[in-house]
């Protein structure tokens, strides 16, 4: 039994990594300007500086795919952390309104900066997104207090999301036309326009945050049995909760700062990964959710680019189409289980 289980885990990681590599290469190859597979491979190996194809691959597609990977991974881990924290299977940065909170703050900062002709550093964007996300998170914690009823939590989250979106719309209405074009693209969720500096900046934030999340897997596993048991086993609950909130909010905020709000990745991917590995052990699920989120977002971005090319869809449109059914499925399965016992 033990052997069979660990076998499944090796196979699971192998499948995830393989599909990550596959979709990474595919994303580099596929696009509006046709570059053949062999040409792509050649460009990747030789890195010729002069050709237009090389520029497209190295300066446009590569940063875009990398940010889809990194942000997708961050988003699904943020979702997993929030689900563990609230012990609610459909919690996630988008559903809880955290992404919308980030969006509001980033939009505000963006417009103010553009009006004064200031170029925004990505650190400022991240800080704004983090502030917005944290504000929403604290509001939700305040609302739900000690009662963590599943429906109550989600309803508060969705409502906060609506309020933030309404405020964002309000701000956008009074912004300059030039700003709106910029903002509109971003506020729908997209990985387009990412450059190498963005990739560097998001890596600087997300890698340590991921390491932190991974190191929390032991207390998370205890917390899964409930707060009382976790405390009785020696988990310092207050510190643990602060860390968990800080990390999940930071990860979600970072995604919003660079790619806008991306829906359903945070809910769908952890569930798919748990189903693949047939376990919910955080020490496995945290890295697996990161790779899974990478793959999910690369595929979604690929579809967003290609389905109606040259017209580009927002990535949220695609993630919602694939992610929302997962949420429905999870809820139905939970209902079945409840009626079965």
């Amino acid at each position: 039994m033990e052997k069979r289980k660990s076998g499944r885990i090796y196979i699971g990681f192998f499948v995830l990594l393989l599909s990550a590599v596959f979709f990474f290469l595919l994303s580099l190859t596929v696009g509006t300007s046709r570059i053949s597979v062999s040409e792509t491979v050649q460009i990747l190996i030789q890195h010729p500086a002069d050709s237009a194809a090389s520029k497209i691959i190295w300066d446009i597609r590569m940063p875009r795919v990398l940010s889809a990977m990194i942000l997708g991974g961050a988003l699904s881990v943020a979702g997993y952390l929030l689900q563990s924290f609230f012990r609610n299977p459909i919690a996630g940065p988008f559903v809880l309104g955290i992404s919308s909170g980030s969006k509001l703050c980033v939009a505000l900062v963006m417009i103010l900066a553009l009006q004064h002709g200031i170029m925004l550093h990505s650190a400022v964007m991240i800080a704004a997104a983090f502030a917005g996300a944290l504000l929403c998170m604290l509001t939700i914690l305040l609302f739900t207090g000690k009662v963590r009823h599943m429906a109550q939590l989600i309803i508060s989250g969705v409502m906060i999301g609506y309020i933030c979106n309404a405020l964002t719309d309000f701000i956008v209405t009074f912004a300059d036309d030039a700003n709106i074009v910029n903002l509109h693209n971003w506020s729908r969720g997209s990985f387009s326009g990412a450059n190498w500096t963005d990739v560097r900046d998001m890596t600087i934030i997300i890698i340590p945050a991921m390491a932190g999340a991974f190191l929390l897997s032991k207390p998370i596993s205890a917390y899964l049995l409930g707060e009382g048991y976790a405390r009785s086993m020696g988990v310092s609950i207050f510190r643990f909760r602060v860390l968990l909130i800080a990390l999940s909010t930071l990860l979600a905020a970072c995604v919003t700062a660079f790619a806008g709000p991306v829906s359903f990745v945070g809910i769908a991917v952890p569930h798919l990964v748990k189903a693949l590995f047939r376990t919910a052990k955080p020490i496995i699920i945290i890295p697996a959710a990161f790779i899974g989120g990478s793959v999910f977002c690369m595929v979604s971005d690929l579809l967003a680019r290609m389905l109606f090319a040259p017209q580009e869809l927002s990535v949220s449109t695609v993630t919602a189409v694939f992610g929302a059914p997962v949420v429905i499925f999870v809820m139905l399965r939970r209902n079945q289980e409840r009626s079965a016992t």
Binding site: L225, R231, I283
Partner: protein, 369 residues
């Protein structure tokens, strides 16, 4: 009996945010002993348990674990000595019973919580001890309530505690499983020289399975003692402020209040034969009297709870003339007399006479209907 002291409280006050719930709790718990908290709902049983686990601050007094102030120990040190089992059921996702029990190794594993071979062996032993090893690979959600409780107990045992804290370990369980768990604890504490503090709602079981009883009444005052000291006379009825009935500590049975009014039926019982009749009359709402019953008769505790009047005799004495006269008067005033007992010896010979007397009066019937 008296091994080392595992836990001691001295004039402990427990409660929430400076609002004391129970004060002046002092007891010593030795290796191999089970201490049971009893008392009405809301009296403070859980508050005491939560204070010992440091979930609630202790408002005054001291808690000593192995002679050391519990406040001076770190959470991890406490976790290696105290394990808990809560009443609330847990909801898990994709966890096998082994995974749940293995959570108990938390205080002993490293930074990432990976289990060593020793850890695995300890978890398997714990599952084996509660008889659940065969369920190790089953999904925790897909087993029965009783099995889940056993797995949670295995989790606590895997923590290798010196002290087990169990908050109503028998709720949700049927009587068979209740006895299983309590019998298991009884032998486990002796064998491993650990101690148990538990809260129970089942007074009869508390009385039978505990070395010490800590009893908290509705006014939040506390009494500690052996089961024999606590389960005496009407103390239980007083502690729980029982109003609609009575509790018999000898048999651990609860009885409702007698139907009031002039007795309409007189039951001549004895040897347990009258008990079904007393219950039937109570259900039908008919006031009745019973006699002549010896105070050591099986019938006695039931009819003294349910009958308006019981004509009784001292243990091992033949029925006196006086008692017999009282019974005759009772037969005269009652509409019906039922003679449930058909075996007569020297001690209850007069009951035979009473039966015959009722027959002559034409009041003797086999049922009251």
């Amino acid at each position: 009996m008296s091994g080392q002291i595992i836990l001691e409280t001295r004039a402990l006050t427990v409660g929430y945010l400076n609002k004391a719930v129970v004060s002046d709790i002092s007891f010593q718990l030795h290796q191999g002993e089970i201490l049971t908290l009893i008392g009405p709902n809301g009296a403070g049983k859980s508050t005491i348990l939560k204070t010992i686990t440091s979930e609630l601050p202790c408002l005054s007094g001291e808690i000593l674990l192995h002679g050391k102030q519990i406040l001076s120990l770190t959470a991890s040190e406490i976790a290696k000595q105290i394990a808990v089992l809560f009443t609330e059921r847990i909801s898990t996702e994709r966890m096998t019973c082994f995974d749940v029990a293995a959570a108990g190794r938390y205080p002993y594993t490293g930074l990432l919580g990976l289990l060593s071979e020793t850890d695995r062996a300890i978890v398997r032993d714990a599952l084996q001890a509660v008889g659940m090893l065969s369920l190790a690979d089953r999904d925790f959600r897909k087993i029965s309530d009783g099995q889940r409780q056993s797995i949670m107990l295995a989790r606590a045992l895997a923590q290798q505690p010196d002290l087990l804290l169990l908050d109503e370990p028998t709720s949700y369980l049927d009587i068979g499983r209740k006895l299983d768990i309590l019998t298991f604890l009884r032998s486990y504490v002796k064998e491993h020289q650990i101690a148990v503090i538990q809260s129970l709602h089942e007074l009869d079981l508390a009385q039978k399975f505990s070395d010490l009883i800590l009893c908290i009444n509705g006014h939040h005052t506390v009494e500690a003692g052996t089961p024999e000291e606590i389960f005496q006379g009407d103390r239980i009825s007083e502690i729980f402020a029982i109003q609609s009935g009575s509790y018999n500590p000898l048999f651990g049975s609860a009885e409702p209040i007698a139907v009031s009014g002039e007795p309409k039926v007189f039951v001549i019982g004895g040897g347990g034969s009258g008990i079904p009749l007393y219950r039937a009359l109570y259900r039908a709402g008919i006031p009745f009297a019973a006699g002549v019953i010896h105070e050591n008769d099986l019938d006695y505790p039931v009819c003294s709870a349910l009958a308006v009047k019981v004509i009784s005799e001292k243990p091992f004495e033949p029925i006196s003339d006086d008692a017999c006269q009282q019974a005759v008067r009772m037969i005269k005033t009652c509409e019906t007399v039922i003679c449930s007992n058909q075996t007569f010896g020297p001690m209850n010979a007069k009951n035979k006479y009473l039966c015959e007397y009722a027959e002559q009066c034409g009041k003797q019937k086999s049922t009251w209907k």
